[in-house]
């Protein structure tokens, strides 16, 4: 491990320790576990919750509904992004809708979907609406940055549309798409849980946070919030790892050090 990485780990650990200390100090100053539970009380509640099946069902419930919205947003975002990137007419048609989705506050979406479709669909649909414009925008940008030289090759050699899509447009869109996945994954999770809280969906983390608030079970509320933060971090780390793996593979492929067996042939 490099010295810089060790230093980074040490400073991150120090940051976490500082937050815990701050938590201890504030809870001691407040002196009321119902208003501001201590770390001990919170982790105690977390331990109790972790011993129940209901807890795991709630985590799974939240993950499933947000994942459904996330995947749906990705599929529709990629399809609309490809169509918009390839056709200025489609782009002009889709753009206003995306602008409205992007500009509308998440809370408005949640309440409207709650009224129209009921609480069962609210978290997934909220995640979907968060992801959709981000994926769409990045795919459109990727398609528009497609290599003009390769497009000319495709024209000269009479490539079919499918071939053009596979060899020119999709590779161009891939980079922007990966960035969109990375950016929108965390947002989708947080917005999805917020939707669960507002809609009080049963067997979800947001639903449990809502119940804890109603019953003034502040340690449980803190514990569930900790779980949301933990899952969010895990999701973001997973997304970053995927991105890094893809980017790393590309980098090693492009590395001239292992580029060609002819050695000096690079400057024939």
């Amino acid at each position: 491990m490099k010295n810089r990485q060790v230093k980074e780990i040490v400073w991150t650990a120090a940051g976490i320790a500082f937050l815990l200390l701050l938590w201890v100090v504030i809870s001691a100053l407040v002196g009321n576990d119902l208003l501001f539970p201590s770390p001990a009380e919170t982790f105690g509640a977390l331990g109790r919750l972790a011993g129940t099946a209901e807890f795991y069902l709630s985590v799974a419930g939240s993950l499933l509904s947000v994942a459904a919205g996330f995947i749906g947003g990705n599929i529709i975002g990629v399809v609309l992004g490809l169509a918009s990137g390839l056709s200025s007419r489609v782009n002009a048609f889709v753009k206003p809708g995306m602008a409205v989705i992007k500009a509308t506050p998440v809370a408005s979406f949640i309440i409207l979907v709650l009224i129209w479709l009921g609480k069962a669909y609210t978290p997934a649909l909220t995640a979907f609406l968060i992801v959709l414009p981000v994926v769409w925008q990045n795919v459109v940008a990727g398609i528009r940055s497609a290599d003009r030289g390769l497009l000319e090759v495709a024209t000269v050699f009479n490539f079919s549309f499918g071939k053009k899509l596979k060899y020119v447009y999709l590779p161009a869109a891939a980079e922007g798409y990966i960035a969109a996945v990375r950016t929108s994954m965390g947002f989708a999770w947080k917005a999805g849980v917020a939707a669960e809280v507002l809609s009080g969906t049963a067997r979800t983390l947001g639903g449990k946070i809502y119940s804890a608030k109603i019953l003034i079970e502040t340690p449980e509320l803190f514990a569930y919030t900790l779980v949301v933060v933990g899952v969010s971090l895990l999701v973001e780390v997973a997304a970053a790892s995927i991105v890094q793996a893809v980017a790393g593979r590309k980098k090693s492929e492009a590395d001239p050090a292992n580029a060609n067996e002819e050695g000096g042939a690079a400057h024939e």
Partner: protein, 199 residues
């Protein structure tokens, strides 16, 4: 290959942003052979090839072509994520043909055929671009400085392949000058600032 293929240009003009690149250029290439378009950098060679290929439109004058056109661009323009062999295969809908590998072998790339294009050297990429254009089976093959990144030994291999093509098709080579590795050249069109100086 079609029976009749030709390139006929009459009083061609082309300008970019007010700057004339091709001026009143006329020529005709209508029999199989090697045709050289010679000129300094910026003389309009590439623009002329691009017009022949249909990638640019003349501002005035007429340009007629008959036959399928292939192009070896100055930069190889390969698809980086696929192998050299796949790059050649891509230009035809024929499946399982042994011809692409044979062409690469002929250019000294048999052992590197499965190498990803992004991993290949400049010379390998340029030779692959030649193989790709020949595999397309054009009637007219346009080559823009096809030997710029290739060493002498490999230039001879590529030249042999192009020379063979020129027995049945019209091979147009744009070059900034210097000796070309061909035994017989049908005609040379020397252009300067877009004007023909001599044929």
């Amino acid at each position: 290959m079609s029976d009749i293929s030709y390139i006929k240009a009459n009083s061609l003009n082309k300008a970019f942003g007010g700057e004339t690149v091709i001026r009143d250029l006329s020529f005709e290439f209508s029999t199989p052979g090697i045709y050289v378009i010679e000129g300094d950098s910026g003389s309009g060679k590439t623009t002329l090839l691009r017009m022949i290929a249909g990638l640019e439109t003349p501002d005035s004058g007429s340009l007629e072509t008959a036959g399928r056109i292939g192009f070896v661009f100055q930069e190889p323009r390969l698809f980086d994520n696929v192998s050299l062999l796949e790059n050649v295969k891509l230009v035809s809908s024929l499946k399982d043909s042994a011809a692409p590998l044979k062409l690469l072998e002929e250019l000294g790339l048999g052992d590197s055929a499965t190498k990803k294009a992004r991993e290949a050297s400049g010379g390998m990429r340029q030779r692959t671009a030649v193989a790709r254009a020949v595999y397309y089976a054009p009637d007219i093959l346009l080559c823009d400085e096809p030997f710029s990144a290739v060493d002498d030994a490999n230039m001879a291999l590529a030249a042999k392949m192009l020379e063979r093509f020129s027995q049945k098709g019209i091979l147009v080579i744009a070059t900034h000058g210097g000796a070309l590795p061909f035994e017989k050249i049908s005609a040379t069109l020397r252009i300067d600032s877009g004007c023909a100086l001599r044929k």
